[in-house]
């Protein structure tokens, strides 16, 4: 197996996640884009862990997963609160903080 194919795949997935965050307007889909990016980074981490045969990168992936769970919980709670406030999850409509 070639580690470079895994790394290139993770770059592609990361770019798709970036485009999702930049192009979509639904707040939940934007959160999904963030998840895509986190997963692409995790894939690169695991590939390097295998390449250098170390457990450290896997520990970091473990932490990133915990972080992603926390991020999803808080992010979705914010989406629910915003939906209550404005009746939409369209991020273009939500300009409360815009002065």
């Amino acid at each position: 197996m070639d580690s470079r194919s895994f790394l290139v795949l993770s770059a592609v997935l990361f770019a798709i996640g970036v485009s999702t965050v930049l192009l979509r307007r639904g707040a939940i889909v934007i959160l999904m884009g963030v998840e895509l990016m986190l997963n692409a980074a995790n894939l690169a981490f695991i590939t390097f862990a295998r390449q250098y045969q170390t457990p450290e990168a896997q520990i970091y992936v473990f932490f990133v997963m915990t972080l992603a769970a926390a991020e999803a919980a808080v992010g979705l709670a914010i989406v629910i609160a915003l939906f209550r406030l404005r009746g939409t999850t369209d991020v273009d409509e939500i300009s409360v903080m815009k002065w």
Partner: protein, 164 residues
């Protein structure tokens, strides 16, 4: 065999990510994201990181996906409204820039990769090896991350409960 599995999973992962990017229905996006996460768990198994692979399935494809689908159902969202208004510069610039970004990232990562992966150690990716590291060298980060989870849980409950 492994090469074939890699290409099948790669096609599955990239196509489901593109569905997340393009589909208008958020439930379909969530389903595609679940496929993507499962495919990435497959990559972890291919690389020999069993524990992380199972964590991926349990935490991502299980817990986080349930949370996302639950919120979509709770808010009863329809499809995103047509037509897209404004922001046209972003609409045209974003795909090009993220393609360029992917190219740069791929080149840099390609240089730091190596052609043939050696066979994994016997201990690579097992619960034992990771657990030993987690409870010795990474003991304090481990405790801090549990604090983070508690904080996130309290924050989520407060945010979702209170009327803003």
């Amino acid at each position: 065999m492994q090469i074939a599995a890699f290409y099948v999973l790669a096609v599955l992962a990239v196509s489901s990510a593109i569905v997340v990017l393009t589909h208008r229905n958020e439930v379909i996006c969530a389903l595609a994201l679940a496929f993507n996460l499962a495919a990435i768990a497959g990559f972890y198994f291919l690389l020999g990181a069993q524990f992380i692979g199972f964590m991926q399935i349990i935490v991502y494809a299980g817990a986080i996906m349930v949370l996302i689908v639950f919120v979509i159902m709770l808010l009863n969202l329809g499809e995103e409204s047509y037509p897209e208004r404004g922001g046209s510069i972003q609409r045209w610039l974003a795909p090009g820039l993220s393609l360029a970004f992917a190219a740069v990232l791929a080149v840099v990562l390609w240089r730091s990769g190596e052609g043939d992966l050696s066979a994994p150690n016997v201990e690579f990716g097992t619960v034992g090896a990771l657990g030993r590291e987690l409870f010795t060298r990474y003991f304090y980060p481990f405790e801090v991350i549990s604090l983070l989870l508690v904080a996130a849980m309290i924050g989520a409950v407060l945010l979702a409960k209170r009327k803003l």
